[in-house]
Symmetry: C2
Subunit: 271 residues, 2 copies
């Protein structure tokens, strides 16, 4: 199935009315079935369904690595992703955690952020030059504006000192991150020294997806919410918004951004 589809529209532009061909983005429904039980339905773009499934289940805490997956079958026609786990344990743990989160309101998130903060603090520190980020931002915009022109989709990129290493697109901004992290998990790609570019708004959920991968820097073309900023601040993550080619706003932990020329990526403990 294609990521876009052709439709006919009646186009009003000023006083003129014309019938014309138009392209709309495909919205695909994927049922994620874990150990024969329906776990969730994802509305997504019909590409990279395997990495989406794996990334989504990792983000939900159902799997933590390839070792947890016994079998993965995508049926694009049926709209199903069937996963068999090597153990039932993880699924039980998720069910338990959901009950706790249910009873304790936002207590579950508090416990998680404290644990994440501890891990992110222990990551190797690195700094990036502002100019390098701005040049990468231009490259990301070129990449994503091509896709936006044809499909109006969101995009995300995994980057390091050598530029964009992975790129994913989807109608859902959350899905773009799941696709990237799912691919990393399936290919054992090491995430140290990497950071994320996203086209989408940085809400608490988006920030948490990045934090769960222990990535200390996130750049978005769009605005963050106040909870996104608050969580980034608490977790020690550098959050950048409105990155649009020549401009950007650094909301938190700006010590990771240094002056200097492009491509200067250094690793050292914060001053």
């Amino acid at each position: 199935m294609h990521c876009t589809q052709h439709v006919t529209t009646l186009r009003y532009a000023g006083d003129s009315i014309t019938r014309q061909e138009d392209v709309v983005v495909t919205e695909y429904s994927l049922s994620v079935i874990v150990n024969d039980q329906e776990f969730a339905t994802l509305l997504c773009s019909p590409v990279d369904l395997d990495t989406l499934t794996v990334g989504f289940l990792a983000s939900e805490g159902v799997i933590s690595g390839k070792k947890d997956i016994h079998d993965l079958r995508i049926d694009e026609q049926q709209g199903t992703a069937c996963i068999e786990l090597t153990s039932e344990q993880a699924l039980h743990d998720v069910a338990d955690r959901r009950v706790i989160a249910s009873g304790g309101g936002r207590g579950g998130v508090r416990v998680e952020t404290a644990a994440l903060h501890a891990v992110i603090r222990e990551q190797p520190f690195f700094r990036l030059s502002g100019q390098y980020l701005l040049s990468l931002s231009q490259e990301f915009l070129r990449h994503s504006s091509l896709h936006q022109a044809t499909g109006g989709v969101h995009s995300a990129a995994l980057c390091n000192a050598d530029g964009i290493r992975m790129f994913a697109e989807d109608i859902g901004r959350h899905n773009t991150l799941d696709k990237i992290f799912g691919r990393c998990l399936l290919t054992d790609y090491p995430l140290a020294g990497h950071f994320i570019f996203s086209s989408g708004r940085v809400s608490s959920e988006m920030l948490l997806k990045v934090a769960r991968q222990h990535i200390p820097l996130m750049v978005s073309k769009s605005a963050p919410t106040h909870l996104g900023v608050q969580l980034a601040d608490e977790l020690g993550i550098t959050l950048i918004g409105f990155a649009r080619g020549t401009q950007m706003n650094v909301y938190t932990h700006d010590w990771r951004i240094q002056e200097g020329s492009a491509m200067a990526l250094t690793r050292h403990t914060p001053g």
Copy 2:
């Protein structure tokens, strides 16, 4: 709580780096508790939480009118909306339906669309002039761009032949519709002869929310997905996208749009 909050950012613009005040949109977490059971957590803007709760529960099929609500208490500090229903029945029905949808894949939606199509076909038909819609589109853009400038939020408006009758804003595009329909439900506002403007992308979920209120016309500033177009076509709903002041694309059932001057709203069966 305010819908926006002030933060300090490091602003990169070309070669200049300045520390400045910035405004970010508030992301508020609301736990919806139905008959002492946690039903869902909504991430939203902290305004109109009562209409959001009622509209959301109506959209989920838990309530169908004011008569189903015994008590509704919002605790803004705690982030909870506690609803007591007059009967347990609806909640059981929702649980049952969820199981069926789970087992039958997308069968549940198929049954629902067939029922909705029958109801929407029986609604009084009306036609609108394209010019009236374009002038209303300009008014909606003025309304929403004000809010977008301060908070980057989505907005929705309930309109009829006399213009915009209700307006709602939220960080979530789905929430803007729930707030409008929740207010209609709480005030017994009659929806006949009304249609919806939205700033957000029209996915299948957005289209279904409007269809469930038996509203035959939806206009969006943004793009539709192919499933949004497909459902609108099947349900007999006129779907308009990219409505931006002087332009718009009519995707489905364009017989409801007629030529002529502004404010011409007529009701008759389709030709």
